[in-house]
Symmetry: C2
Amino acid sequence: MVENFSEWFHDILEEANITDSRYPIKGMAVWMPYGFQIRRNTTDLVKEIYDRDHDEVLFPLLIPEAELAKEGLHVKGFEDEVYWVTHGGQTPLNEKLALRPTSETSIYPMYALWIRSHIDLPIKYYQIVNTFRYETKHTRPLIRVREITTFKEAHTAHATKEEADEEVEKHIAKYKEIFDTLGIPYTLSKRPEWDKFPGADYTMAFDAIMPDGKTLQIGTIHNLGQTFAKTFDITFEDKDGEHKLVYQTCAGLSDRVIASAIGVHGDEKGLCLPPEISPNQITIIPILFKKGKEEVLAKCNQLKKEFEDAGLRVNIDDRDIRPGKKFYDWELKGTPIKLELGPRDLENNKTIVMRRDELEKIELDLDENLVNNICNLINQYEENLSKCAWNFHDEHVKFASSIDEVKELIENGNVVAVNWCGDTDCGQKIEELTGYSVLGIYEELEKGSKKCIISDEDAKYVALIAKTY
Amino acid sequence: MVENFSEWFHDILEEANITDSRYPIKGMAVWMPYGFQIRRNTTDLVKEIYDRDHDEVLFPLLIPEAELAKEGLHVKGFEDEVYWVTHGGQTPLNEKLALRPTSETSIYPMYALWIRSHIDLPIKYYQIVNTFRYETKHTRPLIRVREITTFKEAHTAHATKEEADEEVEKHIAKYKEIFDTLGIPYTLSKRPEWDKFPGADYTMAFDAIMPDGKTLQIGTIHNLGQTFAKTFDITFEDKDGEHKLVYQTCAGLSDRVIASAIGVHGDEKGLCLPPEISPNQITIIPILFKKGKEEVLAKCNQLKKEFEDAGLRVNIDDRDIRPGKKFYDWELKGTPIKLELGPRDLENNKTIVMRRDELEKIELDLDENLVNNICNLINQYEENLSKCAWNFHDEHVKFASSIDEVKELIENGNVVAVNWCGDTDCGQKIEELTGYSVLGIYEELEKGSKKCIISDEDAKYVALIAKTY
């Protein structure tokens, strides 16, 4: 799978009924029923975590050109990839309207209206929406698309710089919780100046390493400082009666969370879905013969109910096809636990279950411990998914002390750490000489302990270099 | 409120933190946190009902011009109100892309790919998406908007006409369940030929009567016959080996479900929200003095937990403001039950509760029956909302036997039933002479029992005439 991850990923999305890319616009795909359930469960997880201290809201899709253009740095970063609505019916519009590429310029004019006093702060809103980028590069479902169907963007405003800095840490903790729940390993780095979010003071980014060694940016958090506050005049009256600009943060997640969950856990047989987002956590496969059919189905339904009462998502595959085909299908679709039950099992009060990761047959008693035993298997499966993924991740972050070594390691599917003085010139030189990207600052170094890979100056940081999606 | 419903509706949306219309594009508003929770609960209700026999999917927002234009009747109905994307960045697109006004032409080309054999049928998918109409009329939040933020559209395909006809009845049953759950009274009528969905064989529509007597179309169900199947070549191989066209239905609901729930139940003090969609079903208002403050808050938290354990949504308003202001706010925001608790109540083991509809103080014991007693009050409130709304509705559907009477009754805030022969000429004459709309066929009449209000021919139907939103 390492060699042909790209092909594997493309095929699995169609075969497992996740997305269909035959929609007649490049870079825009249909979420199919099975994929939509994964999306819904993932969205529920994100909502559950953000609902704790944010309010969900919903802003319009369209942004007037004048608003989008207000923040110069920001618009420069997006102007080449904005879709423009120019007509309503046959009528040319007075002002062009952008399909939001991201919503700062849609949300912040309203923040300027809503925020009056320090008692209105902090304000912490998020929305989950579709956003648009006119991608000219090769598109790839869930990874590089023209319609991002599931963009979670949080936008906060604070009275002080300290609170905004703290909020960045809180976003980071939330993202870690989301990725950890799905067993997705990541590097967290501070993007270099030339790759930060347009308009941000700085950008913190999570990257996951795909099986082919390329990294996928799966979440970003931006400390916006007062840049947008100045542009959109977002001020408040402080306790001391003074009018001050707010400090802001924003943080985004997309369909790539699902892409990475699929990518890091899948194998040659198909998906291995994290239980949290798998449409079914248990798939029951009845083995049916003419004799004893009713009894087996009745027992399957009874088990389904017991599992559901324990809070699990369960389906019974009672299609009139060979059991072997059913096993194949649910391995492809990545159900964590398959449970098989035939008339002889029922007689012996046994059932055969199988974890999707190990695919070994486990015989369990059909007694009152079954629900508990299955829950334990799900937990073991979940832990093992995470452990294997982190092992792969850790094995693929390697240190290099020369440019040639960087190139060789990346060509062999690794992400590479190097010592860097922090100068933009040196950083861009690394990109130029290797042909790969500086993900960002991974660690700070003690003063004077190391030399920069390029300049021979003292290295301030460990930077990560990677081939990126 | 009857006299100035329009103003009341406009004000309540802003005052109750439902939507903010100051967004800088006409007809596009922001869903605020409180409104968003109502929207989420409403969407959950719709999903719960549709999930029983439909699969949720998600199609792209944009539709290539060629697809939109394929079905001639359909595009004619929408071409004046379609927003067009013409540019990606600075680049003119090869083909204009429409913001979906509705998704038949986005979904059905894919149905043509997916449906091969009778075993693929029926197919029943739905999505909840934003859709767009370039409205040139006066816009009004949730009622007449340019971005419909919450469009639930179901699309089914069947092997036989009978199954499609049955599916129409199933959609109707689902819509009734949704409206009944929210206590929203409705008329169900078959839209006249000249007002059916562009491309449909016929359209069934639900209308609610607003306090000013104008009707709001709150749900539509279309039997599409084989029109789109022909256009998009959606065929299947039947058991007999023949290739046949499918029969289709579609059904839509929008933000107007929320608009009608607000409209039919509200009063001069604000919202009266149906418990099913109210963000909080109980609002606890602690009456705090320096003395006993801790004990009162502790008890409020304990009650909150008990109510939540019983499956209720509860908030405690512990803001540092006068209790009177809190009562005012939650009456405005329409929480079904307010519960007030002060130190003296705690001493006497009592609490004062109030139903939002009747606003009478009810003293309840703080004992193990409290949760039950509150649940009963919520049920009584819910039933009373529905009963009052249906009473209003039934009182405002009146029969007229002359055009003058029709006009007078509608001017006085009624929906009017008339006998009609069924001819399009007569129907359009009714609209011309009254200046109002024929909603559609409400009932069939026995042959020869009545005369048409226009033509003196035998009346076949009772038709409804109304002033519409």
